[in-house]
Symmetry: C2
Subunit: 392 residues, 2 copies
């Protein structure tokens, strides 16, 4: 049915982190009528200041959609640390009688560590922040436990939910699809994907079906210039972003990877191939890192040539092999006709779910896996789901 | 979060149609513990008999998962026509205090025509049946209207919902993805896809990147033998199945195609290219149809050759061009490197959403778009969503 039919009543939203993604979340909530009718922003904060809008951030004037930034900068209220935020939102809920969702748009481990406290207080969490779900299994167990005990709260507005679609592939339907597969009893056999936009860009240019001779260091340098990498490219080439996403996905397969014990150190427990050459492992200066990378171009070129002679291209992928209980982030090669080789372009993500039901050919989702607007879209779609379930 | 966390309380399910898809729906509901804990089957019926299980179809014995079929066949109760079904389920709800969902696993227009009555009585509808959403705009308007007025029912268990994921691409995340795009304010520019498993199989074999010389009639004959076509292949080659799916998708773009007025005759209003040669249009006997199809092989071969010389392959696709307000089901050609050409195999569906946010490259979903288990999966995933929203 049309997404706008039967718009739910109100749920209140507290937004932590108002950078590129957070700003886009706010913009979508304020400008789409069916969203502003059902979701009310009652708090905004960055790392310094908080803007308290208990009656809802106004949408009555066109200026409201952009004026919040000045108002936040000019606010007399300091940003609330997690414990104070919980107390504030509980008091707000007691007043308003509405369910409250915390949207964490940061990449902060400090905020992630507070999810058990948020959930324990009956606040939902919606987030693109990978940190909480890819850290230690003890944090994950604390999140599950808070969620489980919150589910039996007497008052439905105090029953917390967690939605995290944008933690893998931004707005692409990956987490939701995996939950539907598992939740309807399908048996996942393997999940395999190009899960990093940075690696996608690098290898879509470095290793192509038509053949390519550009130097690896040159592709990395261009990726950095065009903003596809972190400020230090080594943070991407380490593979840790892929390892985090694999951790998140594996923990959604509770029958195969007990989320409270498997991957005890989270992403650090994943078998991860770093593409940073060993001699550069300790180089913290990005400029020095980039300038020394050409010394290793020949090594990468050998791998590329060997793959090409087999009719294959190189791709940095994440693989969860359920039958072998193996989870790894690594550089692999794929035949020219494989969707990872031929159908991928730009910095797109692609993920393939091989299951009992999707046995002949996998279920595949593909598209932009990074960027503020698509990441915000995943967050806002999750907020709609919370509103559908918790509106009063 | 894991799909099984915080399983909701009970919602009651009435299943109409227990063929291949219906049987798989029942099997999934009975055998997945988190589902049987939240969704209770209180009625089953085929076109002849009804099995009333007001306390829930038992899952206490292993036999229950298969014994329902014998019990249904032996039931003293005749199948309930729509009006009697509504009365029965309303009375059941008054007793049980649970929300009730009607699952329509038929392909019956008669049942589809009753959706306004179901919704008007506060019963939700979950279905893979395309008929209601691809028929006249007046039926669709009646569905929307019943849904809208039901949303304000005082008692939440009487507020109806409609979920229809499996009407396009079976269990693939297509309807849900489109609703998320639209619901978060993205602007859809074009939707394009191979939406028929039959056409996918036919053209993946008939027109390939490597070149193919098999006769069109031969591919159709094999497809029929292997069960990829309807009993009369002309029912597939007409393109009406694709036209129905396009109608369903277009109506989810309410700002662009007013569902209550656009496509007044539903799928019959879609510009649809039939691949049945004109002289065979009136041939109702499948054997005669198949035996005369070779007379037209040369025409198809010419199209294939012309495409191949351009470096392209033939694909039967559905296209919704929002900017041109054009909706058509037709035979098109795509360059070898296009995902529709190179990345497609078997009878897979593929769909590409071109939007403002997915501008550089579309959001693509691909995989098996037909089959009882994946169709049932879409139905059951929708039932979970109803349970999450309406459990008491």
């Amino acid at each position: 049915m049309p997404a706008s039919v039967a718009s739910p009543a109100l749920v209140d939203v507290a937004i932590v982190g108002v950078g590129l993604v957070g700003s886009s979340v706010i913009s979508q909530l304020l400008t789409v009528p069916s969203l502003s009718a059902s979701l009310r922003i009652v708090l905004l904060q960055n790392s310094k200041r908080a803007l308290l809008t208990p009656q809802g951030l106004s949408t009555s004037t066109p200026a409201a959609a952009s004026s919040w930034a000045q108002n936040l900068a000019a606010s007399p209220d300091a940003a609330l640390p997690p414990r104070a935020l919980v107390a504030h939102l509980q008091a707000h809920r007691a007043q308003s009688g509405k369910h409250v969702v915390v949207v964490d748009n940061t990449s902060s481990q400090l905020i992630a560590d507070a999810y058990p406290a948020f959930l324990g207080a009956g606040l939902s969490v919606v987030t693109p922040n990978k940190k909480a779900f890819s850290a230690s299994s003890s944090l994950y167990a604390a999140i599950l436990s808070a969620l489980q005990s919150g589910a039996s709260a007497k008052n439905p507005i105090e029953r917390p939910l967690v939605y995290q679609e944008s933690t893998v592939g931004a707005g692409l339907p990956i987490i939701g699809t995996l939950n539907d597969l598992v939740g309807t009893g399908d048996k996942v056999k393997k999940i395999e994907g190009v899960l990093s936009g940075t690696f996608s860009y690098i290898f879509n240019n470095y290793s192509t079906v038509k053949g390519s001779s550009v130097a690896f260091s040159q592709v990395v340098a261009v990726a950095k210039e065009q903003g596809y990498t972190e400020p230090h490219p080594g943070d991407d080439l380490s593979g840790s972003d892929v390892a985090r996403k694999l951790t998140i996905l594996a923990r959604l397969l509770p029958d195969d990877f007990d989320p409270t014990t498997a991957l005890p150190e989270g992403y650090a427990s994943v078998d991860t191939k770093s593409l940073t050459p060993a001699p550069l492992a300790q180089v913290t200066d990005p400029a020095e890192y980039v300038s020394r990378l050409p010394d290793f171009d020949a090594d990468f070129d050998t791998l590329r040539k060997q793959a090409f002679e087999r009719g294959e291209v190189l791709r940095y992928v994440g693989v969860i092999d359920v039958e072998k209980k193996a989870i790894k982030a690594s550089l692999e090669s794929y035949p020219f006709a494989h969707p990872f080789a031929s159908a991928l372009s730009g910095s797109d993500n692609i993920i393939a779910f091989h299951t009992s039901r999707y046995a002949n050919a996998p279920l595949i989702v593909q598209g932009a896996g990074a960027g503020a607007d698509v990441t915000a879209m995943g967050v806002v779609a999750d907020l709609r789901r919370v509103a559908e379930r918790r509106a009063v």
